[in-house]
Symmetry: C2
Subunit: 358 residues, 2 copies
Amino acid sequence: MFDPNNSAPKYHQLREYLKEQIIRGDLLPGEKLTSENTLASQFNLSRHTVRQALGELENEGYIYREKGRGTFCSRPKINAQSIAVLTTYISDYIFPSIIRGIEEILSAAGYNLILANTNNDKAKEALCLENYLSQKIDALIIEPTKSALENSNINYYHLLEVKGIPYLMINAFYPDLDSAYLIMDDTQGTYLATHHLLQLGHRRIAGLFKTDDLQGVKRQAGFFSALKDYGIPENSALVGQYTTEQIRSYPYQFIRSMLQKEPRPTAVVCYNDQIALDVLEAIRNEGLKVPDDISIVGYDDSPLATATEIKLTTIRHPKAKMGRQAAYNIVDMLTGHIEKPRFVYPSELIIRSSCRNI
Amino acid sequence: MFDPNNSAPKYHQLREYLKEQIIRGDLLPGEKLTSENTLASQFNLSRHTVRQALGELENEGYIYREKGRGTFCSRPKINAQSIAVLTTYISDYIFPSIIRGIEEILSAAGYNLILANTNNDKAKEALCLENYLSQKIDALIIEPTKSALENSNINYYHLLEVKGIPYLMINAFYPDLDSAYLIMDDTQGTYLATHHLLQLGHRRIAGLFKTDDLQGVKRQAGFFSALKDYGIPENSALVGQYTTEQIRSYPYQFIRSMLQKEPRPTAVVCYNDQIALDVLEAIRNEGLKVPDDISIVGYDDSPLATATEIKLTTIRHPKAKMGRQAAYNIVDMLTGHIEKPRFVYPSELIIRSSCRNI
DNA sequence: TCCGATTTGTTCGTATGTATG
DNA sequence: GCATACATACGAACAAATCGG
């Protein structure tokens, strides 16, 4: 308004001038602005130009106009940003804790949390991402679905980058995508678990792993790595592999049939606590006892680990802590404080009563 | 555009005329609109008037303009509606299931789910409601916080009504608010539970209830109602009452001190499963056994009810089913199919192994 | 209740700038 | 360079709502 060699359009200058006054608090909510005609003569503008500036301010929510009365300053519109959270599941296992952690931080920071789950179905994941891309989503925390398989939704992630929408992966990431992530050291986790069993004297150790997500692949790698360090060759007969679709029956069946053949394993390393409970049931139904006959270790330290009589030895998952850090990170990415955070939580063994010395 | 006795401003008429073309699909995304000058001469308008119409269409996202090239039809903006869900907690107990039920339906129906919890704190509830009121929230599913106390946030609910934002209460409602709700029959629930104990021969029955939410008040009423039907007078020494803030220590302490005095109760009716577990621990720590020495009944049939060795006799809460119905209802309210749904789920007793005949 | 001053809303006209093809 | 299209900017007039006297 005062700078003649400012190349910006006059109505832009006036708009910014007024906007500043509002933001600084010179104009309080409800207060009347100078009338259009007065502004025009004050700044040597046509009324039309003034109206253009006011129109945009109205559109952005800074002011409102009332015919016959005047133009007024709006109440500050808290236009909270929305951060979407897309996980495989939401109501079971460790997911409620992760989501609570995220909610805690986002809520305190004034962001909306938009929640959905994929049920570990890539089609549902695609649908959700497509929705988010066509809406006003400011950032995304996502647990990739079937992260070990080909990333058929990679285009959506590229679109997120193009649109400048920051996203953060938790629990896993796609190797062919240069993304920010927050994961735990899955390989180290099963290494510790397996190592623990080896130290207890176990030599014939079975493993049961999920193959369609990166966590499963890494956990299996940690299992083999520990065996190798003890000079024990890989024995494929002792390793069960399953996918999401087989989760209901395979782990149970695998263990039951394994227990019916001699020599039996003396211990089982499980992909997670949920599978460990299936294994526990299979062992029971064979008339055997944990840990007397067979030791088992779970993974994730979920509520399931301590829900039964046999308290599971397991690996700690950061859960709510990871949720909180994910929320902090995505906010920092959104505000430009960090570029692409990448963090790997070290693994920690929790010894309970599902393993014994032999 | 064609109606001379239409009193609406010309630019409104032109705007609606063009908007219709876009919605009908006469103008496909990316297609070029008639130029400003052509439109002006075509409809006998000034170019300024045409610009005003186009400006609003641009603002609403229907078109975009490129200097020197022309005005083009935008890709259809799928602006999904957002439904906020505000519960007391989100990660524990029956809440993950309720939220999963809501998510399942809203997600399938193409709505965003915006999630937050109040931690059973009325100040946090006020904060969330204020946020939702100043944002673009289309509807709200809410579990009221401390529903038995004075509704200090009633103004926010009135504002929701004024703004035409439908809301649905779950689990409880404020008596002084004429709202839609979805609750279970809490009074009948504890009536059934208490009646069950009476039929098993118990006569000295203790009760432990929360007093700051409507559910607690109703559950206590059902407890007394059943006792009355058996001609047993109210004995305040046998009834413990606590609020959210006392939840950590009171129930445990109350039961322990009660067990140290003769005559001991032979059964305890608990506000919910979580409290039942506290009671269970208190009984154990007194060197007594459930159900041999004392019977207990929980409420809600949460995962906790079957997590320990003692499987709790409890009352079924609809959980995910209630979540789904809440979602269906709020969508129907939003689309105007129903006005104010009100539904009370009948209660159902689940008999497990925490009660015995005496 | 009506009047007149003020204020925003609608509509016209005109001119010039600037990017596109 | 030229025609076309949108962007910026000026001016003028009347309509409609509000408000104080």
